[in-house]
């Protein structure tokens, strides 16, 4: 496909492209990761092109899911003028799921994304973060032992942003001085028309990509080997989630959990004598906070078909529960039932929003 080459770092090249799009009035805003200082990264919707110097789109941090933030911007009405969005593959897949869930709209968005090496935990975003980033940048993508790299990223096989309009092949190259934009869609062609850069023909490097995929798949198998039904059960669940505070931060940060009035935050979840007596009667005690495991399995029921394995949930957990790893594991088996891959295809319905007449006949008793 058509590609544009620049001898600039990825962040600067993205900045140049966005600046061009602003100057040509092709976009009215850019939605992109910004940096205030090493403790403060955030997603910003920028309309003043002079503020583009604050952007840092490829810094390996995900302060919130861009997919979720974009749904906030587009939920009530579609965007009225085009914007360019720079986000990671899983964030884009989350956004697609939110569109399917009628929580977001895709109109007027130019999607720019890149092959993704993963992100470092938000908790590392403090003084000294720069050194971690530097180490991260030097390391090849097959190196999964970087300190602070999210476990969900270490096992993520969907790091190629299949649906983006413009893709930067970052991790196969690991080159900080040159940048390539793969112009994937006709829409993207229109946008970049006239942008000054060397035009070449280039495809994604499948050999390198499969190498990274293989490595991550192996890691995933290793991690999942410890999360099998026989190791879980109620006892395993208590082992994992026992210290859960029931703060629900994991759900608030999860791009797929969108309900403003969550059932698990409702009065139905309060526990009076009626609720605890049933347990105290048999056990002589009642554990608080109550309903933690109920919350987690409940959340799995609600979102596992759309869980895109981003690891936001793990990242925000104050007591370091590997929420995302467990959810990704459960999501994989749930998605397998319906052969569904979340965020892959915008036309494909989420399995519980559709059905076939002749299926699962063994479940309903005739």
């Amino acid at each position: 496909m058509k590609a544009l080459k620049l001898s600039q770092s990825p962040d600067n090249a993205i900045g140049s492209l966005l600046k061009y799009l602003f100057e040509q009035n092709k976009i009215s805003a850019a939605f992109v990761l910004c940096k205030n200082n090493s403790r403060d990264y955030f997603y910003g919707l920028i309309t003043d092109k002079n503020l583009l110097e604050k952007i840092t789109p490829t810094t390996p941090i995900m302060p919130s899911s861009a997919g979720k933030m974009l749904s906030k911007l587009t939920m009530l009405e579609p965007l009225t003028s085009p914007i360019a969005v720079v986000l990671r593959p899983c964030e884009m897949r989350a956004f697609y799921e939110l569109i399917k869930l009628e929580q977001a709209r895709p109109d007027n968005i130019l999607f720019i994304s890149f092959t993704c090496k993963g992100v470092i935990s938000i908790k590392e975003s403090k003084d000294g973060f720069e050194e971690k980033i530097e180490a991260y940048q030097k390391n090849p993508a097959t190196e999964l032992t970087l300190p602070g790299l999210r476990q969900c990223c270490q096992i993520c096989e969907n790091f190629v942003p299949e649906n983006a309009d413009i893709i930067l092949p970052l991790i196969e190259k690991n080159d900080l001085n040159n940048t390539t934009f793969l112009i994937k869609t006709e829409k993207a062609e229109d946008f970049v028309q006239g942008f000054e850069a060397e035009t070449v023909e280039e495809e994604l490097n499948d050999t390198e990509i499969s190498k990274i995929k293989e490595k991550r798949a192996r890691k995933k198998a290793e991690v999942f080997a410890n999360i099998t039904p026989d190791k879980l059960g109620m006892k395993g669940l208590i082992d994992i989630f026992g210290r859960c505070l029931n703060c629900h931060a994991c759900g608030r940060a999860c791009p797929i959990c969108y309900c403003n009035l969550c059932y698990f935050d409702s009065a139905d979840s309060e526990v009076g004598p009626k609720a605890y007596e049933a347990e105290t009667e048999t056990k002589g005690a009642y554990r608080l906070p109550a309903n933690t495991i109920f919350y987690h399995i409940g959340r799995m029921i609600h979102i596992s078909l759309s869980c895109i394995g981003c690891g936001m949930c793990t990242d925000v957990c104050p007591v370091s529960i590997p929420v995302g790893t467990i959810f990704t594991r459960v999501a994989e088996s749930a998605q397998e039932v319906f052969k569904y891959i979340p965020g892959r295809n915008i036309e494909e319905k989420i399995p519980i929003l559709t059905f076939k007449i002749n299926e699962f006949e063994e479940i309903g008793e005739e």
Binding site: M234, E279, S333
Partner: protein
Amino acid sequence: MQTEPTIIGFLCNWCSYAAADLAGNSKLEVPGNLTTIRVMCSSRVDPVFILNAYFQGADGVLVAGCHPGDCHYQTGNYYARRRLALLIKILQTFDIEPKRLRLSWISASEGQRFSEITQEFAKFIKEAGPNPLKKKPFFE
């Protein structure tokens, strides 16, 4: 100490709930430990309701709706079936017995069938013993 198992039945207003009524009126036997909850359609049952029932001590859960093709809202029961398929898969991932969950299609005229299915399910649950979720330990 509880000896009889607890069974929760989510019954669709248009069919299975009417079937339960008919069973009662016809003096057919229905298990005494079945607590029924009327829903407007089997698709009203969020699998989280079922999970909630288990966590609160139910030993078995029955979801009953109109026969495929006969849902009052045309297709609700097909959605319900998919949701339960999802629930079963998730329970299996945690080694939590999905056999304690039953989905049955019982029309308004099938009072006899309602009586048979609920009795058979009650017997099955009694043999299966108490729901392990209930036995979740306080200390290991």
